[in-house]
């Protein structure tokens, strides 16, 4: 805070409340008994010193803490007590699932006492009815809020995640994620191309020979064995920078 800034503030004929707030913002200790003149004197005294705080304190007020912008390692909730399940592809061969349960669900499951499973199903090219998945994988879950990485069989496939339990032989899913698709890692050649004439805005379909379109381009993608949650895997990617 510059000397002239404090001076200009005092010239605006502030109320005693405004002066108190201003003094607090600058960390000036005031006694309850101090009147306007006393506070003005305390501020004027401060303005003689070169207070090493940011220029922007002129227009804003820091709260109780003198350094409120310092990021801190605050504890965030382990659970938000909401029923949720999300599925994301990590790469063509791995998906990530996370879940959380509401209090009601937790109570219901406690009463039920069954083992709870997280399941990922391949539902590519079908209308999924809960029983007709092309294939699925599952794991017993140990916590009511958690996550799991599943290795899946196919890139370019639709997956859905569910949480459920077994009633006899029957899997009873009670939470379902949105569908997510794994990325492709090979070219998708077709004999039909669509082109847009930019001057007319019209579209045309063109038939091409697939052989002519093929290229030998490829990139390395994470193979099925690299678990994205493992330290070895993270070390292998951590040296790379974006833009390379």
């Amino acid at each position: 805070m510059k000397k002239e800034d404090i001076g200009s503030f005092l010239k605006t004929d502030p109320s005693i409340q405004e002066m108190r707030r201003y003094a607090k913002m600058l960390g000036v200790h005031l006694k309850r008994t101090m009147g306007k003149k006393d506070i003005a004197r305390a501020l004027a005294k401060l303005s003689d010193k070169d207070v090493p705080v940011s220029s922007q304190t002129v227009v804003a007020t820091p709260s109780e803490s003198k350094r409120p912008s310092k990021p801190v390692n605050v504890d965030l909730p382990r659970t938000y007590f909401t029923d949720s399940i999300t599925l994301h592809p990590v790469n063509p061969y791995w998906v990530y699932i996370k879940w959380d349960f509401s209090k009601e669900t937790r109570e219901r499951l406690d009463e039920l006492g069954n083992d709870i499973f997280v399941r990922v199903s391949d539902i590519t090219n079908i209308i999924y009815d809960g029983k007709n998945a092309n294939r699925y994988k599952e794991a017993k879950i140990l916590s009511e809020e958690g996550n799991w990485y599943f290795q899946v069989d196919f890139p370019d496939a639709d997956y859905i995640a569910e949480i459920g339990y077994y009633a006899g032989e029957l899997f009873v899913g009670f939470m379902k994620s949105k569908i997510a698709r794994t990325p492709r890692n090979t070219p998708q050649f077709t004999d039909q191309e669509t082109w847009v004439d930019l001057s007319k805005g019209s579209k045309k379909e063109v038939r091409v020979s697939v052989e002519a379109a093929e290229t030998s381009l490829s990139i390395r993608s994470s193979g099925p064995s690299d678990n994205p949650s493992s330290e070895e895997f993270i070390k292998s990617i951590s040296k790379s920078r974006s833009g390379r």
């Binding site: 705080v53 940011s54 922007q56 304190t57 804003a60 007020t61 820091p62 709260s63 109780e64 003198k66 350094r67 409120p68 912008s69 310092k70 990021p71 801190v72 390692n73 605050v74 909730p77 909401t82 999300t86 994301h88 990590v90 790469n91 990530y96 959380d100 996550n147 997510a180 698709r181 794994t182 990325p183 492709r184 890692n185 090979t186 070219p187 998708q188 050649f189 191309e193 082109w195 847009v196 930019l198 091409v208 379109a213 290229t215 490829s218 990139i219 993608s221 994470s222 678990n227 994205p228 330290e231 895997f233 993270i234 990617i237 951590s238 790379s240 920078r241 974006s242 833009g243 390379r244």
Partner: protein, 534 residues
């Protein structure tokens, strides 16, 4: 004559780091270093090219956090202080190196001159670096695109269309506020694309974006010309894809230009080399050593240890940039001729995107390389430098392709931003989004000024927490503590605001503080989260 177009794309980005209540803050140096070493040297190189009448075209994304930091009065003031200290150090170094070595003394004088020029550019433009780049856009040399608001990683937000929409919408609005006009294109953070994102781009009036090579190679269908012609998504948005050859020539650890033995060694800096008492005023006040930008050594050789490096010779390094620019231009000519033949005369488009900070910050001579490259290509018969809109304007027809899910991170998908080290972030980010949408809809029509301010601040905290930089830093194991704490702190502030809004107990003083310290996007409207999208 076989001709093709060359699109150089520089992605300029740093996360929003603003600690106005600290006289100096270590992580704020990231901005100051990038300004001194990359952004201002690029402005200088571009202006020299413009003044010399050289035909050059560069596409640049200047991300919303970067534009906001450029315009932040407090950071501007701190930057000038940083420059003054750097100048003071260079002056001391001139004295000190007289008795050390003529090479380091020559370099100290070089750094002093360079820093004084940097300062004069900064003062001349009154700290308005966005304005400097905007002038180059007005003259047709630059095409500046926007980026999603805080560089949030969109592929992991797709569960919440409102979150994707807000990231893009706030990115567009911030660009308009700083550049005075709407952006025509966008750089999606980390090149992160998932089919469907293009519909938001169209909604926000954006006509093109970029993907990594496999975004098109594995697109649906595989495009006829691979990555060498832009395509159009089903939503009518143009897509430009990265040319792997260009990246390899510049970036490769084995054959990339920046590894030449004549170039400056990044990891030898007087900030680490000088004795503590001497260097203390120029490093972090905590005494933690850091780069000062004054470096006297060259790479020397691949297997030469840091303490065996030879002195750097700026004139020799400049010679190397000319050689490398010539070589790169020759390779582009050869590549374009080869592709033209393969494509039966259809003109190829070669797109070379890079992190802007590579040029100058990591590769000290990078901005000179860019300048030399455009001088080399000036009036070239084969390689025509162009911006994406110029390429689009020159096209008669375009193939329709849906790009593949892709990013430009290691291995090409989501693993850099989603793995065992950083996956904990997403539980909290998703909850933040859910609560933001809930309150945005609940209070969409509120006229309570205080509530509106609190809701706007909640949106800022969410956007700041979503910055992809935090997950990236956690993976790369660099300044992990800062990244973890930034994520947690923004989420915590968001949760507290949520509670206060819902219970009608908004702490005005605390809100003021948050508006000050997390004061990005001054004109944000929380209602961007209330819209039904997707």
């Amino acid at each position: 004559m076989r001709k093709g177009k060359f699109v150089l794309m520089l992605h300029a980005h740093l996360p929003f780091i603003n600690h106005p209540d600290f006289p100096s803050f270590m992580e704020e140096r990231w901005l100051f270093e990038a300004m001194t070493e990359t952004y201002i040297p690029l402005v200088q190189a571009f202006n020299r090219l413009k003044n010399d009448g050289v035909h050059f075209r560069v596409s640049m994304s200047i991300t919303p956090p970067l534009m906001e930091m450029f315009a932040n009065a407090d950071l501007q003031k701190k930057y000038l202080k940083y420059l003054d200290l750097s100048i003071e150090l260079a002056e001391k170094e001139i004295e000190r190196t007289i008795s050390e070595n003529p090479a380091s003394n020559r370099l100290a004088k070089h750094y002093l001159k360079e820093l004084e020029e940097t300062k004069s550019v900064y003062i001349r433009c009154n700290g308005d670096l966005s304005g400097e780049f905007a002038q180059l856009q007005d003259s047709g040399n630059l095409e500046i695109v926007t980026c999603n608001a805080t560089h949030g990683f969109l592929p992991l937000m797709t569960q919440y269309p409102e979150a994707v929409n807000a990231q893009i919408g706030v990115g567009v609005d911030t660009y308009k506020r700083h550049m005075g006009k709407a952006p025509r294109g966008i750089w999606l953070a980390e090149c992160g694309y998932v089919p469907g994102i293009d519909s938001y781009l169209r909604e926000w009036g954006l006509s093109f974006f970029f993907v990594d090579s496999h975004g098109l190679w594995y697109g649906d269908p595989a495009p006829r010309y691979g990555v060498y012609r832009p395509v159009m998504t089903p939503e009518g948005v143009f897509v430009f894809a990265r040319d792997p050859e260009s990246s390899q020539q510049v970036w490769s650890a084995e054959v990339g230009y920046p590894g030449d033995s004549r170039y400056r060694e990044f990891y030898r800096d007087v900030g680490f080399d000088r004795e503590e008492d001497y260097i203390r005023p120029y490093i972090d006040p905590s005494g933690e050593r850091c780069n000062t930008g004054i470096k006297y050594y060259r790479i020397t050789g691949k297997n030469v240890s840091l303490n065996e490096k030879s002195y750097y010779d700026f004139e020799e390094a400049k010679k190397a940039t000319r050689e490398h620019a010539k070589d790169f231009a020759a390779r582009k000519r050869e590549q374009i001729k080869r592709l033209s033949e393969q494509f039966n005369g259809v003109s190829p488009v070669v797109v070379a995107p890079f992190d802007a900070e590579l040029f100058g910050h990591w590769w000290y001579e990078g901005p000179i390389f860019i300048e030399e490259l455009f001088r080399e290509l000036n009036g070239d018969d084969t390689v025509v430098c162009a911006t994406p809109p110029e390429v689009i304007d020159s096209m008669g027809e375009v193939q329709c392709v849906t790009p593949n899910i892709s990013t430009w991170g290691a291995n090409g998908y989501n693993e850099v931003w989603l793995n065992g080290r950083n996956d904990w972030i997403y539980r909290h980010l998703d909850e933040g989004v859910r609560r933001m949408i809930e309150l945005a809809r609940k209070y969409e029509k509120t006229e309570d000024r205080l509530k509106i301010r609190a809701l706007n601040q909640m949106a800022r905290e969410l956007l700041l927490a979503q910055s992809s930089d935090w997950a990236f830093i956690i993976t790369t194991n660099t300044t992990v503590e800062y990244a973890v704490n930034r994520t947690k702190t923004h989420i915590n502030r968001l949760l507290t605001l949520y509670g206060e809004i819902e219970t009608g107990t908004i702490d005005v003083e605390r809100l003021k503080t948050l508006e000050w310290i997390d004061g990005i996007f001054s004109s944000i409207d929380f209602r961007v989260y209330s819209r039904q999208v997707g």
